[in-house]
């Protein structure tokens, strides 16, 4: 089966979306998977559209920006609508990750993708909202499905099973398998460490312009 995955993160290969795509790709092994990044240079929209037009399942993977789809991803989706998706048998799926704890905060972006699929007259499959995308690069040594990645592993298994069968499913939102109060402390500290690397002190982070 032809599967086309779109990475809508401006952080490209270093993005949390890319990590999720890699997890999914290994679960979808045996299928003909094409992964395209909308920010990657050297590939035309026409080429991406060709792969979309021949796929059975289209999966949009992107980060949540201010409660919804990032502007450049939105532009990409509008351009596809304008050019017209020829293959109306495509089933659209999406996986949205955010920098908060709660995966449910991705629900509006998922709804927007569903509205888009209606506009371009293709079938809607399923959306998953993943909380705490920023934790993923720090868990590369943790096997998917265990520890803080337990919930993500379970959901991706269900999600990719549906994709393999181009089956519909209820939208699912997941939090990391990790206490929220600890997450909140660690996430806040990580900003201080990142700023320190740039020689920015804690009181400078708080500054008003």
């Amino acid at each position: 089966m032809d599967v086309c995955i779109i990475n809508g993160s401006p952080r490209k290969e270093k993005s949390n979306s890319r990590i999720i795509i890699d997890y999914m790709s290994s679960m979808l092994e045996g299928n003909n998977i094409k992964v395209h990044g909308i920010f990657n240079t050297g590939i035309s929209l026409e080429k991406i559209k060709k792969d979309i037009d021949k796929c059975c399942a289209l999966i949009l993977v992107f980060p949540l920006y201010v409660d919804s789809i990032p502007s450049q991803m939105l532009e990409f989706m509008m351009e596809l609508e304008k050019r017209g998706v020829i293959n109306k048998n495509i089933v659209v799926y999406c996986a949205v990750n955010n920098g908060f704890y709660e995966g449910a905060q991705n629900r509006i972006a998922i709804e927007q993708v569903r509205n888009w699929s209606r506009k371009i007259q293709v079938q809607w499959g399923q959306g998953i909202g993943i909380g705490s995308g920023e934790i993923l690069p720090h868990l590369k040594k943790v096997p998917l499905g265990s520890g803080p990645l337990r919930n993500l592993g379970k959901v991706l298994e269900k999600f990719t099973e549906n994709i393999k069968l181009t089956r519909k499913g209820e939208d699912i939102y997941i939090n990391p398998n990790y206490p929220r109060f600890l997450w909140k402390i660690q996430a806040s500290l990580s900003w201080i460490f990142k700023a320190r690397k740039n020689k920015v002190k804690i009181w400078e982070i708080l500054k008003k312009i």
Binding site: S9, I69, L74, F100, E102, E111, Q112, R118, A195, V200
Partner: protein
């Protein structure tokens, strides 16, 4: 200060602006599309390298500061799949220096703390020819979520066909 963020053609916006009482306001900042806006790259430099200011070099790197001086923000945007248009969305994507990277719990969810004490009222005019009921519903949910994450005070949403603007 009143801030207007819009995605209209300049000619149409200016006509509407002239015909309305908006010009009577003493202090107005209009944010419109000059066609050269850069997209947010998710670098978080506006929090960790140049706090409060977007690192991208264009005319839109001070949205956080502008919002900090606003008591009213008006958004005029085409409604796309229940979202703002790409230009208006880009302005909001690049408004995150208005917030702090640190977190608080509000309505049982994690949200960012705010950098500034001021809060503004928001009025959103969504326009478009064929906005579906689903898109309207999504757009309403979006503004409600934005209220928590961008931290504005009261809001009002109106859907219009372009001629009614």
């Amino acid at each position: 200060m009143k801030v207007i963020i819009h995605d209209m053609e300049d000619m149409n916006f200016n006509k509407m602006f002239e015909e309305n009482m908006l010009r009577d306001d003493k202090e107005i900042k209009i944010i419109s599309n000059n066609g050269k806006i850069k997209g947010c790259i998710g670098c978080f430099c506006c929090w960790t390298k140049t706090p409060g200011v977007c690192i991208l070099k264009d005319e839109y790197n001070n949205i956080g500061e502008i919002l900090s001086k606003a008591n009213e923000v008006i958004i005029i945007s085409k409604c796309i799949y229940g979202s703002y248009s790409p230009f208006v969305k880009n302005i909001l994507d690049r408004s995150i220096p208005y917030l702090l990277p640190f977190f608080k719990i509000q309505n049982k969810e994690i949200h960012h703390k705010i950098r500034y004490k001021n809060r503004f009222n928001l009025k959103v005019y969504f326009y478009g020819e064929n906005i579906t009921e689903e898109e309207k519903d999504t757009a309403k949910k979006l503004i409600k979520a934005n209220k928590l994450n961008i931290n504005f005070d009261k809001y009002d949403i109106l859907f219009r066909i372009p001629e009614e603007l």
